[in-house]
Symmetry: C2
Subunit: 327 residues, 2 copies
DNA sequence: TTGTAGGCGTTATCAA
DNA sequence: TTGATAACGCCTACAA
């Protein structure tokens, strides 16, 4: 049985409503009374009961996060940052690893103040039929017109990268990515646009599909590409892990970056700084994504107006991993 | 504003206590009334308010999981299985990615029915000073005598592996693991016991410390070991990821498993079946761990007695990845 | 078989 | 500056 404000009241010899005020640091309580109450609360190990509080306040100061794919690494950094940002506004985050639909139901029963859904883990639900009294914010999927969505413009990102390479003179640019992944597919589209191509078949030698998104997949693709006799001068990589594989391949083949080969990698994470080679990257910095998500969540919880769709524009983060080419 | 039982009561033309009973499927309500109420509840999209319910029932049917390291892959499978098992008993799990101490505080405020702490992510807290009215179950750490702990006997696991290799004639057995990790250290102890050694310095060539627990660390260690002129006939690996790296190294060096080299890997996960090579493994099957954890959680929530410390014994899962050696 | 009333721990409103 | 009291949504005796 846990400690309640009534217990504290008894110990302090005051009424429990005074205790309540004291704990909320109300100016309506005298200093000495307050100090005394706080001390007793501390001694007794008092923890306010969220259930009771949210019942009367109709607020739980909690954000529910739908997280059906615990295995994924990339969003992990995001969620950590979001958690920290929300904490500063005294909100707590709670994750559910259940399927999107039942996770949302759970959070509705818990009366959290907002729900964040990571679209990257599509368990193929009709987002339009989702029932939720509680506002939802989506990341990485344009699913539901009722609720705001935050996403990254991956197409533009890769287009930016390819255009930049073209600007400094590159003509033989390869793209490495997993074309079975819809998000990666977006990136390919950007690549094709920049290269003025209609589809990937027009340039088979320079568009290298991988079997997955792991480091080793990138390694295989790069090894395959670079050991053939194709005059490639630059590579655009679809993700951080693929890039790590590509770098392993170039190092095995003793290729110097950027002298022998230019590389630009898609991604949003700061880990690139730990890589052997400093690379030019393109994408929305993860801190901006988490910032935007937190802002949106906070706004929606305070009943402030929020944009329906927020597409974050990527940036090119140029480091000397690309060298100009003279034809 | 969400739907309450009173709303349902109005629509159904009955009192709200009848609705409450109907929803809980009480035998005190007539079939037709029940059906009608259930139908209306469904239509209105009624979701019971956990806050209100747990206030009166003093139960939330929720287990809080302390999960400070979202990045880790191995425990992810565990938590998924535990979640599924608990769900069968109509419990929900909620994860917190905050630091252990504040996560426990949060769950206390939320009045969850039990807390599960994964010891693998040590953020160096004094577990003995943890204040929690709610029962805690620890996994992977023997931290606190007040609460039950479930753990795997890693030392015995590796000892089992080494002894088995010795039994089939191996004498030159190497151990690859990250010796800075306390859990890995346990494994080394088992190795040393089996090899009848006092410390790792007695056999430096056969004890290969890695810099971390990633695939690449295993790769480097194995490459380093195997390209020297050391007559090693068998390797024991400290984890799944390290093993993947080791396999990459052996494949690069065109070593055949088990003809040229025997390998036994520590771990508890079923992923091994997806590997290029079927390996002999040693550890507690992950399903047994999640089973035991769920059982313990359920027992402790029903106020049934539970053992204080539960050390699970590992098993050797012999596949033909080891071949006998004749001296 | 249904309805009424009291209470769970908290906050908020009013009265003292 | 404090204390009493009514909610919040739900469950459960007990009364009708």
């Amino acid at each position: 049985m846990s400690v309640t404000i009534k217990d504290i009241a008894k110990h302090a010899g005051v009424s429990y409503s005074t205790v309540s005020k004291a704990l909320r640091d109300s100016p309506l309580v005298k200093k000495p009374t307050k100090t005394k109450i706080l001390k007793i609360a501390e001694e007794l190990g008092y923890q306010p009961n969220v259930a009771a509080r949210s019942l009367v306040q109709k607020k739980s100061f909690t954000v529910g996060v739908v997280w059906p794919s615990v295995e994924r690494v990339a969003p992990a950094i995001l969620i950590t940052q979001i958690n920290d940002l929300l904490e500063k506004h005294s909100y707590t985050t709670l994750l559910s690893i259940n399927k999107t639909e039942s996770a949302i139901a759970t959070f509705n029963r818990f009366q959290v103040d907002a729900i964040l859904v990571f679209g990257e883990n599509e368990d193929a639900i009709q987002h339009s039929t989702i029932k939720s009294t509680i506002p939802i914010v989506y990341y990485g999927i344009q699913a539901n017109s009722r609720f705001p969505t935050i996403d990254v413009n991956r197409r533009i990102a890769i287009k930016l990268a390819a255009n930049y390479l073209q600007d400094i003179g590159h003509q033989h640019i390869a793209f490495i990515g997993d074309l079975t992944d819809p998000l990666q597919k977006d990136k390919l589209t950007g690549f094709l646009e920049a290269m003025k191509l209609d589809n990937e078949l027009e340039l088979p030698n320079f568009i290298i599909p991988t079997k997955g998104l792991e480091v080793y997949d990138g390694y295989l693709a790069a090894k395959n590409l670079l050991s053939q006799d194709i005059p490639v001068t630059a590579i655009i990589s679809g993700s951080y892990d693929l890039t790590r594989g590509i770098l392993r391949a170039t190092s095995e083949l003793s290729l110097k970056i950027p002298d022998d080969l230019s590389i630009i990698s898609y991604d949003n994470i700061p880990q690139f700084e730990n890589l052997e080679v400093q690379l030019t990257t393109v994408g929305v910095p993860i801190s901006r994504i988490s910032q935007k998500i937190s802002e949106t969540l906070l706004a929606i919880m305070e009943d402030e107006p929020v944009d329906e769709t927020i597409i974050l524009d990527p940036e090119l983060n140029i480091i000397d991993s690309c060298s100009p080419v003279n034809k």
